[in-house]
């Protein structure tokens, strides 16, 4: 009996250890991928930066990789376009998203809120190529007509598409933050004679501010990494950004030229360097996001 029990216990211990190893392996796998991708990007991104020169690469205003006599590899137009495009998307998307969250959290009747929430969830599930397609066939011609431009594929069109794309994450994160505000705060404010609108904006919103800020950073992360949708609406010319100009983002610069850049050419390695710059941007945003959450938990 004892022997049997001991055998049973040993078997249990082995299976525990084995499963533990499987879990460990899966955990390590994710870390390994991150390290692998980082190492790969750095290794393949650095040569072009070294050849072009860091300052010329980051702050060069002209991107002409296939120029016959003097190719130029300046990615300042892409960096500025990504920054402006993301800022524009946040400027349009955050107010709308925040007010939607406020509506869902405080004002909407339960049934209506359920409908809106489902719609927001659906919006987040739409593939980016569909956003691009609708943008290309509906939004771009509309922008052209409204602003009387020769071509509607502009930074403005990209900003509008991006701001719709970042709405779901902004809405759901801000709503969670607003819901977490203790009811007592609002009741106290109402009892002091403040109107409901005053209470929401002066009491609930400040109390939820760190969550809302996290929503904004999340939106920035999504907007700066998007490629497919904006490739279809932004026109992809390496201009310095302007609201009514055709522009190219960091992401679309990589995507649009990768298929033709000769293997081993400086053009191709410069595209890896752009990826490295984009990667660092997104890392930076992630670090900010993490610090924010950490502060929130500790504070």
């Amino acid at each position: 009996m004892d022997a049997l029990e001991a055998k049973y216990a040993a078997a249990k211990r082995y299976s525990e250890t084995a499963m533990g190893l499987v879990f460990l392996l899966c955990g390590v796998l994710a870390v390994a991928f991150v390290l692998l991708i980082s190492a790969y990007l750095i290794l393949s991104g650095l040569p072009a930066i070294r050849e072009v020169g860091l300052l010329d690469f980051l702050f060069g205003p002209v991107w002409a990789p296939t120029h016959k006599t003097e190719p130029q590899f300046g990615i300042l137009p892409f960096i500025l376009t990504s920054v402006y495009g993301t800022a524009g998307a946040v400027a349009v998307g955050v107010p709308v998203g925040f007010l939607t969250a406020m509506f869902l959290s405080k004002l909407a009747p339960r049934r209506l809120a359920a409908v809106v929430r489902t719609a927001v969830d659906l919006l987040s599930g739409i593939p980016s190529v569909v956003y691009g397609l609708v943008g290309m066939t509906v939004l771009v011609p509309a922008v052209r007509r409204v602003f009387r431009l020769p071509s509607g594929a502009t930074l403005l069109a990209a900003i509008l598409v991006l701001s719709v794309m970042i709405l779901p994450s902004i809405i759901s994160v801000s709503e969670t933050a607003l819901n977490a505000v203790p009811r007592e705060y609002e009741e106290a404010s109402l009892a002091l004679g403040a109107t409901e609108t005053e209470t929401w904006f002066r009491v609930s919103a400040p109390a939820a501010s760190s969550g809302i800020a996290a929503a904004v950073v999340l939106g920035i992360g999504r907007a700066i990494g998007e490629a497919m949708a904006i490739m279809m609406v932004a026109g992809n010319v390496a201009n310095m950004p302007g609201l009514f100009k055709s522009v190219r983002f960091l992401t679309t610069a990589i995507a649009s030229e990768m298929s033709y850049a000769g293997v081993g050419s400086l053009q191709r390695s410069a595209l890896y360097s752009i990826a490295l710059v984009l990667f660092l941007f997104i890392m930076l945003i992630n670090v900010i996001l993490n610090l924010w959450f950490k502060n929130k938990r500790e504070g």
């Binding site: 296939t66 066939t137 020769p150 071509s151 594929a153 026109g235 992809n236 010319v237 030229e257």
Partner: protein, 284 residues
């Protein structure tokens, strides 16, 4: 689009070959229809030259491999100049050029035009302009002409829509209109399909596409009074076109393998391979 067509062409070619292979006997046994069985050739054919011919060579090599599995055809996309040089110094069996040979080059090389690549200039169907000259197209591309009213059309700003840097169609257009590295694009799109869609939805748009991809949703304008069609490209009257040339050493016999590949490429029965690659076969 280059890639897209290749992606379409290769499976299509492979299917065709696979189908024809269904009826074929294993090599070595006598064919029942009385045709003499071909001895399996072996060897290597080195081709070298024009990067624009990558799609054409891909289709040809793929088709040829199914027929003569013993022969390896290599293709190095180095550029027309290098291809001609390689053919004349003997480092390649066949040189590939996407331009006619110059007179100096013709002393030791024979020029065989295997296909012609026509670039159609497309505008929106609502555009009243029917006819442009190459100079006018170049001026539009450089951004010197900015309104259709300057060309006899409606008062509509011109939006010049093209392909991304590195695209073969873009390379051909800029080379043939003399606008290399001088184009002022209002959109740079990553496929011919996207260019056609953008032109069809933008009233003031003008763009370019290889002849084979032009659809009814856009209007191909005449160049110097000549409509863009396979016939006008073939007879040379349509201006924005270039030949795809095999440069073959003159006065020297090709190797058996190279001759077999050359015959395959020149055989009108294989003209479909060129069409699939988006160009007009010279021997239809």
């Amino acid at each position: 689009m280059k890639k897209n067509i290749l992606a379409l062409a290769l499976p299509a070619v492979m299917c065709a070959v696979a189908l024809s292979a269904c009826g074929a006997q294993p090599s070595g046994s006598p064919a029942p229809d009385g045709k003499p069985t071909q001895a399996q050739l072996t060897g290597t054919v080195v081709t070298n030259g024009s990067t624009s011919m990558e799609k054409v060579m891909g289709a040809l090599i793929e088709g040829f491999r199914e027929l003569e599995g013993g022969i390896t055809v290599t293709y190095e996309p180095t550029g027309s100049g290098s291809g001609i040089e390689a053919a004349s110094n003997g480092s390649a069996d066949i040189g590939l050029a996407s331009r006619s040979l110059k007179d100096a080059e013709k002393t030791d090389l024979t020029e065989v035009v295997v296909a012609k690549d026509g670039i159609a200039i497309v505008v929106n169907t609502a555009n009243a302009v029917e006819d442009l000259t190459v100079e006018q197209v170049a001026a539009i591309a450089r951004g010197e002409l900015t309104n259709w009213s300057e060309l006899g059309g409606a008062d509509e700003a011109i939006a010049f829509i093209g392909r991304e840097a590195g695209s073969g169609t873009r390379g051909a257009f800029e080379e043939l209109t003399g606008t290399e590295d001088a184009c002022r694009y209002s959109q740079e799109l990553t496929s011919t399909g996207a260019v056609i869609t953008a032109v069809s939805t933008t009233p003031g748009a003008i763009g370019y596409a290889s002849l084979s991809s032009v659809e009814d949703t856009v209007k191909a304008v005449k160049i110097g009074g000549v409509a863009c069609s396979e016939a006008t490209v073939l007879d040379g009257s349509y201006a924005i076109q270039r030949p795809f040339v095999f440069a073959i050493p003159a006065g020297k016999e090709l190797s058996t393998a190279a001759q077999a590949f050359y015959d395959f490429a020149a055989d009108p029965a294989n003209a479909g391979l060129y069409t699939l690659a988006g160009v007009v076969p010279a021997n239809g």
